[in-house]
């Protein structure tokens, strides 16, 4: 792998997680200090991204970036949109940030957005020189560059996919209860569902398979555990669910 990167092409990854009944996103703190390092000029949040290398395709760049932040391989990773406005790196804080790096970032940069899904508990954050943390998607604002916009678009796609695909199940742990699954859908879509009707729907999804196991240690009736069979899903998905 060459480490010559392409100056005007980057990949940004929106890493979604789910935890405590909330949809989360993994973000990095961006803090600009005065040259004597004593004071903070500003501090905000950013997605994780980087330029692509000259001999690297887009999917590999996204996988590299996600692995670099989470230590994890083989996550679901999906391209959702490419951002190329001329003013995408032109907000006041971003200009200050650029100045710190001289003209390295003075080129026009187009970035390809990917999103990744995982249960947020799977990530062991171990970053030396960066502050990385899960944020509830509802509490995030004032992000670096055009990252608010990228997150917005990623969320839109996630909601869309959730309704037409089983991809949302990637956000749940390996073993989950139907109540957890329902709360996931409710959190992401911002609605609420009737418990019985939700379960009737799930019962038709043959890729959500009951395990021979129940919760334990909970102070109430323990729930049946289920798993997501990617295998059954791939084999039985219908190709084109027409709406008309």
């Amino acid at each position: 792998m060459s480490h010559k990167w392409v100056p005007n092409l980057s990949v940004d990854c929106v890493i979604f997680g789910f935890d405590a009944d909330q949809l989360k996103v993994l973000l990095v703190e961006r803090t600009l200090r005065t040259t004597d390092k004593k004071n903070i000029v500003f501090s905000d949040l950013s997605l994780t991204g980087y330029h692509i290398y000259e001999d690297e395709d887009l999917d590999s760049a996204a996988a590299r970036i996600v692995k670099d932040l989470t230590g994890l391989d083989k996550l679901v990773l999906e391209q959702f949109y490419t951002f190329g406005s001329l003013d995408r790196l032109e907000h006041p804080n971003d200009k200050l940030w650029h100045e710190q790096f001289g003209d390295v970032f003075s080129h026009r940069v187009v970035t390809v957005g990917y999103f990744s899904l995982l249960p947020s508990t799977k990530v062991k954050i171990a970053q030396k020189d960066r502050v990385v943390r899960w944020y509830s998607v509802n509490e995030v604002q004032n992000m670096a560059f055009d990252h608010n916009q990228i997150l917005e678009k990623a969320l839109f796609h996630l909601r869309y996919k959730l309704q037409h695909d089983a991809i949302g199940l990637e956000l749940l742990p390996d073993k989950f209860t139907l109540s957890q699954m329902q709360r996931l859908y409710e959190a992401v879509l911002g609605t609420s569902f009737d418990k019985r009707n939700f379960r009737k729907k799930v019962a038709q999804m043959n890729f959500v398979v009951p395990l021979k196991e129940k919760q334990h240690g909970v102070p109430h009736k323990p729930a049946q555990l289920y798993m997501f069979s990617r295998d059954i899903f791939m084999r039985t998905r219908k190709e084109r669910p027409y709406f008309i």
Copy 2:
């Protein structure tokens, strides 16, 4: 507008049309001749695309490319995917083609795919130095570069959109009959619908509005004409049609 183009970033446009009950795509002939211009080395088909300029955003580049080919402005134009494999310009004919231009195309190029929809009769093709023609999407094969793959993905997105959006109506002329509309949906989706049930569906789409006008000059019962009101559609679309 600067005319310095970015060497490793391009936009490719898939221009869809509809005509004679078939989904069409507007393609350009790519013919490589021997240096004495007497013989043809090969000839194949290509989408229309070009590098972006340094001070041009992606949507503008796509609009420029579509206008250049069709002479038309203000068409529906939608980004659908970005292609960045390392081998996307590496098929045998493509290498021969590159050699003709020296090393201008020797960089690695990532391309952003857009698609555009219009009734194919709207285009007056008037290209001096290029052969441009509508092809039925079913008859197209052996395209330049990775354009088969780009077309495939565009088609997938078009089918997807057709089912969740009114965008397909952009392929019909300003005044159309319900039979034309049905044949459009059948051609794009590759299915057939019951006429009465199809019309019941359309009756619920308040953005498909009947005109005070009928067909004339047809050798059979003349059909009622309808129009697509983009305005009503925008005002009445529901934000999130949940599936669960």
